[in-house]
């Protein structure tokens, strides 16, 4: 709730800023960096923004956060604004990789270095690109699921996949890693549906079809976490709650509880807070003349009942962006 309120405030502020003044100084410091994010209303970005601001504070950077509300015009306008503000560096989590290219071009014209966090760009005129290791994360989830199926004696069962668009690099990497693990364990795939509008109905329908079309379906894997409820509902309405496992990439705050309860077998959790911090740290290193890797992959946490408790502090901080009191 706190995040949502804050996200809303920032969004409104930024919109007003875009319309009235070139930039709204969040923190008035000598070195400024801008963070252009597609939409802070999405928790993942919000958590990442917090990681950025947290780390910027640590390193003494003034951060201008621009949330485009997933509107390209805003994103470009904020880019222009940031450039006009004369920021020293730009961190971007663009609406898409294509938009990232434009932002990079504008920044390049203004001779401003850019670090990309999570969403890749179709060009290479950036300082560094930071992303989750989607392949490894998916692979770990595959292994986790296979182990569960084995433990339940369902190795003959199949696994259905509801995927994010496979044209995205992260989607493709997740599918490959997951399928590789299933293949290594001899688990059959029941098919794959790609999300397009990311709606509840869409995920529900895909789940229902998987159940209907595959009588031996024993698990559904969601490559995105936001519509997990639709999948749970479809399984439940099929009367197969105890027969079909649900496992997800990404994480929602309620996943901790769900994994604890067994409603969710497990989740591959990205670490947006950590990514934000890593972005600022990378920009700092670049601005200070240090060498940075062009590509930096951060691990995805494979969380199950088995390691939930162990990873819980990391999950709270790096995944959910909840810092301990006093930080």
């Amino acid at each position: 709730m706190k995040l949502q309120v804050r996200r809303a405030i920032q969004t409104v502020s930024l919109v007003l800023l875009m319309l009235t003044t070139p930039v709204l100084e969040v923190v008035a410091q000598e070195k400024r960096i801008a963070y252009l994010v597609s939409d802070l209303r999405i928790p993942f970005w919000d958590i990442m923004a917090r990681g950025i601001t947290h780390k910027a504070d640590e390193l003494g950077y003034d951060v201008l956060v621009y949330s485009a509300e997933n509107v390209a015009k805003y994103e470009l306008a904020f880019t222009v604004s940031a450039i006009r503000e004369g920021v020293d560096g730009i961190l971007i989590s663009p609406t898409n990789s294509s938009a990232a290219a434009t932002i990079l071009k504008l920044a390049e014209r203004a001779n401003i270095p850019v670090v990309i966090s999570d969403i890749g760009a179709k060009t290479d005129n950036y300082v560094s690109y930071i992303e989750s290791d989607n392949f490894q994360g998916a692979y770990d989830l595959g292994n986790m699921l296979a182990e569960a199926l084995h433990n339940n004696g369902w190795m003959n069962g199949s696994v259905g996949i509801i995927a994010i668009p496979q044209k995205r690099a992260n989607g493709k990497a997740r599918t490959e890693g997951f399928l590789q693990a299933l293949e290594e364990h001899g688990v059959k795939s029941a098919g794959l549906y790609q999300q397009s509008d990311f709606s509840y109905r869409e995920t529900y329908e895909f789940t229902r079809r998987l159940i209907e079309d595959n009588p031996i379906l024993r698990a559904v894997w969601l490559q995105g976490s936001d519509r997990y409820q639709a999948a749970l509902d479809a399984i439940s309405e099929a009367g197969r709650t105890d027969e079909i496992l649900l496992i997800s990439f990404d994480a929602e705050p309620e996943f901790v509880h769900m994994i604890e309860q067994g409603t969710l077998l497990g989740a591959g959790m990205q670490q947006p807070f950590l990514m934000g911090e890593k972005a600022v740290e990378t920009m700092h290193r670049h601005l200070t003349g240090q060498t940075v890797a062009k590509l930096q992959q951060l691990p995805v946490l494979p969380v199950s009942q088995d390691n939930l408790q162990q990873l819980l502090p990391v999950i709270y901080r790096n995944v959910l962006g909840k810092l301990p009191e006093g930080n």
């Binding site: 390209a72 015009k73 470009l76 222009v80 294509s98 938009a99 990232a100 290219a101 434009t102 071009k105």
Partner: protein
């Protein structure tokens, strides 16, 4: 002639070169056409490409501009430029420009000389200058979904692409031309050599395998392919035709040669326009020359040797032939023989080649030696003249004895018209009853054996009379000695016969008394001697001389004497037998021959009658006179050497004795050296007696 012209160009090479040139020319034109078409097409395509790109971009860019997907439409621009190889594609994004605070946000792709594209971000002078060099440019507004103009897109096309494309097209076409020309030429050469020239060489080889006259020994082989098979068949058909023609030509030539040789014709060929003339050897041979001797040969050769008169006539005939008045030229002319005499030749010919204006070009003809014919004609002419004008009758008869013709003299002599005689059998000519038996057989035998008969023949006349003729019948035979016809020539000898009778009368009879004269007496005496010797009877020869005749002659004149002699002759003739002969030797001397006597005494009565009748008075015209006669008689046979003359002398001697003994008496010869005869011939009772007649 089978000469091979090694210097002649090769048909294969020439054909190949022509084909190569043709292919090159054709493909060059094709290349030019393709180049031109390609150029127009490329320009058109360029314009179309620009237009299409503009149309496509203006539509597809709008959503991106509206959604501010700058990178997307930049990618689109980049893709479009690269894909279509435009010289440049530029977009002016008014929406983005608004965000940037500029009239527009500009992005473009400009192709550099190396072919790589570079981004265009501003319209600076350098970019503008480059864009202005574009071969073709076009722009289109970018209209948003609400109708708002969101920007403008520019597409530029350069001619370097055009040039490169055209160069490439030209090179490709050139390469294609060269490859095709080379391939086609090679292919054509192989095909021509394989299917055509080898076949031609095969035909050539077959044709070269020829006999001495250049005619192939074997037919041209047949070929697999229809056209060559047709050619082969045509050549073989032609060869067969040539062979047949050659055989026919040989036959014709042999016939012509044999005809020329057989007819012994001289032949000539005369180029009327140039005077050039060709003769054969016979032409010269007729004149006693060889062609070599007459060289140089020309029409002047003929003109020099021809008789001037005949040459003139020949020229007139030639002119008529040239004018078309005569279908052919024919002239009998004389030519001077090498030996100097004239030779008649029959000159014949006709123009065989005429000029376009109808002028004679070449004339061909023959010479034939007709000298013999001309001579024969002359002979015939003379014969005809003889036939017509001869006074002798002439009858031409076929070998079968049918009268073919008679001349006018025949008609005159016999009274027969020609039409009455012609086609009649010749038999009637020999059928006169005057002829002795066997006359016809004799004539035919002579004709058969000797081919001629000559003699006297009685010719029957239309008035059933006959006349004597001297006739010659000659058989006329051909070269095979076969009788073709007979020629009868006869002359009327009636007057000759009459003259002959008259002469015979004059020669053998006394003109005064009409009694046989001494000559006839001699003949009859020799005949009587011969007959007597043959028959074995007796001949008495009486020599008689009138007694007293001289006195009468002197007294009364010669006329009276002659008259007396005539009377005496008549009296003697009256008393003598038919077989007896009384002849007057001259004056008053007579000889009487008494043949066919059985003995010497058988003549006594006759002698007695003679003395009586001669001594009887004779009444002359004015006087009556009286004479007597002295008779000397000799008998025959006698010695073998006693002939007629001796008998006459014996009788004369006996008559002389009678004269001596008194006249008017008979004395038999009892010669001194012929006593044997006297004793035997002269009856003893009368050997010394002589009858003395009064007078």
């Amino acid at each position: 002639m089978a000469a091979t012209n090694h210097g002649a160009p090769s048909l294969l090479t020439r054909t190949t070169l022509i084909v190569v040139v043709v292919i090159l020319v054709v493909f060059a034109f094709h290349a030019l056409y393709v180049y031109s078409s390609e150029r127009s097409e490329i320009i058109n395509d360029t314009e179309l490409d620009v237009a299409e790109s503009l149309k496509r971009l203006s539509k597809s860019l709008a959503p991106f501009i509206e959604s501010y997907a700058v990178n997307e439409y930049e990618n689109l621009i980049t893709t479009e430029a690269a894909l279509k190889r435009h010289f440049a594609v530029v977009i002016e994004d008014f929406e983005m420009g608004e965000i940037l605070g500029q009239p527009y946000y500009l992005f473009g792709q400009l192709r550099k000389d190396g072919g790589e594209y570079v981004d265009v971000q501003t319209r600076d002078a350098s970019v503008t200058e480059q864009l202005n060099q574009a071969f073709y440019a076009g722009s289109a507004p970018i209209i948003g979904s609400s109708g708002k103009v969101l920007g403008e897109v520019w597409v530029y096309a350069s001619d370097d692409v055009l040039i490169k494309k055209l160069d490439k097209a030209l090179l490709e076409e050139l390469f294609t031309v060269l490859v095709l020309a080379g391939t086609l030429s090679l292919l054509l050469t192989v095909i021509l050599r394989r299917y055509f020239f080898n076949s031609i060489l095969g035909i050539d080889a077959a044709l070269k395998n020829s006999d001495q006259e250049g005619i192939p020994k074997a037919p041209v082989p047949s070929f697999r392919y229809r056209e060559l098979a047709v050619l082969s068949n045509s050549i073989n058909t032609m060869l067969d035709s040539i062979k047949r023609s050659r055989e026919n030509l040989k036959i014709e030539r042999r016939r012509l040669r044999n005809t020329i040789i057989g007819t012994r014709s001289g032949i000539w060929e005369w180029n009327v326009q140039t005077g050039e003339t060709v003769f054969n050897e016979r032409w010269a041979e007729i004149l006693g020359y060889s062609l070599e001797e007459l060289a140089p040969i020309s029409i002047d050769t003929w003109m020099t040797l021809a008789h001037p008169e005949d040459l003139q006539r020949s020229s007139k005939l030639l002119d008529r032939h040239f004018r078309g008045e005569l279908n052919y030229y024919e002239c009998e002319a004389r030519m001077r023989h090498k030996n100097g005499h004239w030779v008649w030749i029959l000159d014949r010919g006709s123009v065989q080649s005429w000029g376009e204006q109808g002028q004679p070009l070449v004339m061909y003809g023959t010479h034939q030696d007709i000298t013999e014919r001309k001579q024969a004609e002359a002979s015939l002419s003379m014969a005809a003249g003889v036939f017509r004008h001869a006074r002798e009758g002439i009858v031409l008869t076929s070998a079968e004895g049918i009268i073919l013709d008679v001349n006018s003299a025949f008609c005159t002599l016999t009274g027969y018209a020609r039409s009455e005689a012609v086609n009649q059998s010749y038999e009637f000519m020999l059928a006169s009853e005057q002829h002795k038996q066997g006359f016809r057989k004799q004539v035919l035998s002579s004709l058969e054996n000797e081919g001629v008969w000559s003699g006297e023949c009685w010719i029957p006349c239309r008035n059933r009379s006959v006349f004597p003729s001297l006739m010659t019948i000659a058989a006329v035979s051909n070269n095979d000695n076969e009788i073709e016809h007979y020629v009868t020539l006869f002359a009327d000898i009636s007057h000759l016969k009459q003259n002959e009778d008259q002469l015979r009368q004059i020669a053998h009879y006394d003109a005064l008394t009409g009694l046989p004269n001494r000559l006839l007496l001699s003949e009859r005496l020799r005949h009587a001697v011969s007959t007597t010797r043959r028959h074995g009877d007796v001949l008495a020869v009486v020599f008689m001389d009138l007694d007293g005749f001289k006195a009468i002659n002197d007294t009364y004149g010669h006329a009276s004497g002659d008259e007396l002699l005539i009377v005496v002759a008549r009296r003697m003739q009256a008393i003598l037998r038919e077989c007896d002969t009384v002849a007057r030797l001259g004056g008053d001397e007579f000889v009487v021959l008494l043949p066919e006597l059985s003995s010497g005494t058988d003549c006594k009565p006759i002698l007695t009658r003679l003395l009586a009748t001669l001594s009887a008075p004779v009444d002359l015209a004015e006087h009556s006179v009286h004479v007597s006669a002295s008779l000397g008689v000799t008998l025959y046979p006698q010695a073998p050497d006693v002939d007629a003359e001796i008998l006459l002398r014996q009788a004369d001697m006996a008559m002389y004795q009678a004269k001596q003994r008194g006249k008017n008496q008979v004395r038999f010869f009892n010669g001194m050296d012929t006593s044997a005869f006297n004793s035997r011939l002269v009856p003893p009772s009368s050997s010394d007696q002589s009858e003395k007649q009064p007078g």
